[in-house]
């Protein structure tokens, strides 16, 4: 079983951070999907329905936000979709900002410096992998996967 991480973003600057992290995850050995125009993930003709399908098949949604991310961006819909599907949602936030979707109320979040977001890639990817493995163990314990 391969884990898949959907890296969502709330604005153009966040998209570049999301793409960088998505590429790192692939090198790290995790499947990733970023709904950008990068042909690694999306080819012309991809529909919104196809993007939601990719999200529904993912194990975790990484919500990348910068100070330009608006609460009305598409990322908000993706977060609602992910939470409704009981998916793990992890905020990846520009340092110093308040997350516009209220995800990090007292919960752990990963922060990045917009001038060098890659510094956090390894720590974040390792964290995601260990969390997903723990989740898998928990569901196996319930023998209901």
């Amino acid at each position: 079983m391969t884990f898949q991480v959907f890296v969502g973003y709330g604005d153009r600057q966040a998209m570049l951070v999301a793409e960088g992290f998505g590429r790192y995850l692939l090198r790290f050995g995790l499947n990733s999907f970023v709904a950008s125009t990068n042909p690694i993930w999306m080819l012309p003709g991809y529909t919104i329905s196809r993007i939601y399908k990719m999200l529904a098949r993912s194990d975790v949604l990484v919500a990348t936000c910068t100070r330009n991310t608006l609460p009305t961006s598409n990322l908000g819909r993706e977060i609602r979709f992910a939470q409704a599907h009981k998916m793990l949602v992890l905020p990846f936030l520009e340092k110093g900002i308040t997350d516009p979707f209220g995800l990090s109320r007292g919960i752990w979040k990963m922060e990045f410096d917009p001038t060098m977001p890659w510094v956090q890639h390894r720590t974040f990817a390792t964290y995601i992998l260990s969390l997903m493995e723990k989740s898998l163990e928990a569901r196996l314990q319930g023998q209901l996967i």
Binding site: Y52, A56, R57, A84, L131, A138, R139
Partner: protein
């Protein structure tokens, strides 16, 4: 058992299990719920539990951040619970099996409307994770209110939507009335849920989140299966 600071940190983390369980659990909206009573007989209770052994250091060392682990425990309990609910529903409903050709709002509205007119006034619709995308992609497919999702049928009539986790085995949609069954639970520390930490050996703790529940089907005819042609 521990120094105060550690104890407070531990309690805060244990509370996160409950918080995330409440965020992700669908039982409270999708079914009728109540605690077990002395008059209840013939119920078979399921044990839903997750336990994990963790080092006490997790609560002493500021470099370790155990919150996501505890938060995720609640989410996983909600998934296991949903699996039990839907397994029981699939096994016991005796309503009709319907077929639609595609998942669109327009193809579901007529079916739900007819269902409501048969005196099912609290319709709930479970959608397998694999099939939910087209409905969510439609601009008017899903209505969001108070962190809940609905399919609007006509003014004042709507069905609450419950897309399932991808780890729950469900191939068809299930249309049911909220009164299809009763979710009966033994009282825990937080409604049905008990979360506890026990010291098992030096420096190690066993964290357990558990509940005992029984889903009793009261009106088997108040549940229909909707098959999507060409899927599965």
């Amino acid at each position: 058992m521990f120094m105060n600071e550690t104890q407070t940190d531990l309690e805060r983390n244990l509370h996160l299990v409950y918080e995330s369980y409440r965020l992700y659990s669908v039982i409270w909206d999708a079914t009728t719920t109540r605690a077990v009573q002395d008059t209840d007989t013939g119920l078979h209770f399921e044990d839903i539990s997750i336990s994990e052994v963790v080092p006490k250091d997790w609560f002493d060392n500021p470099a370790i951040c155990p919150e996501p682990f505890f938060y995720d425990m609640g989410r996983n309990l909600a998934i296991i619970e949903e699996n039990y609910l839907l397994r029981t529903v699939k096994k016991n409903v005796t309503g009709r099996t319907l077929e639609i050709t595609e998942i669109r709002r327009t193809s579901l509205v007529g079916i739900v409307d007819e269902f409501v007119q048969l005196n099912n006034l609290l319709p709930v619709l479970f959608i397998p994770a694999d099939l939910s995308a087209p409905l969510y992609a439609e601009p008017e497919g899903v209505e969001f209110t108070d962190n809940r999702e609905f399919l609007q049928i006509r003014p004042n009539v709507r069905a609450q939507l419950f897309p399932t986790s991808r780890y729950v085995e469900l191939r068809d949609l299930v249309l049911a009335d909220k009164t299809l069954g009763t979710w009966i639970y033994r009282l825990g520390d937080h409604n049905s849920l008990t979360v506890e930490a026990k010291r098992i050996e030096d420096g190690m703790l066993k964290i357990t989140a558990k509940m005992q529940v029984a889903y009793r089907i009261d009106r088997p005819t108040a549940g229909h299966i909707i098959h999507v042609a060409g899927m599965n």
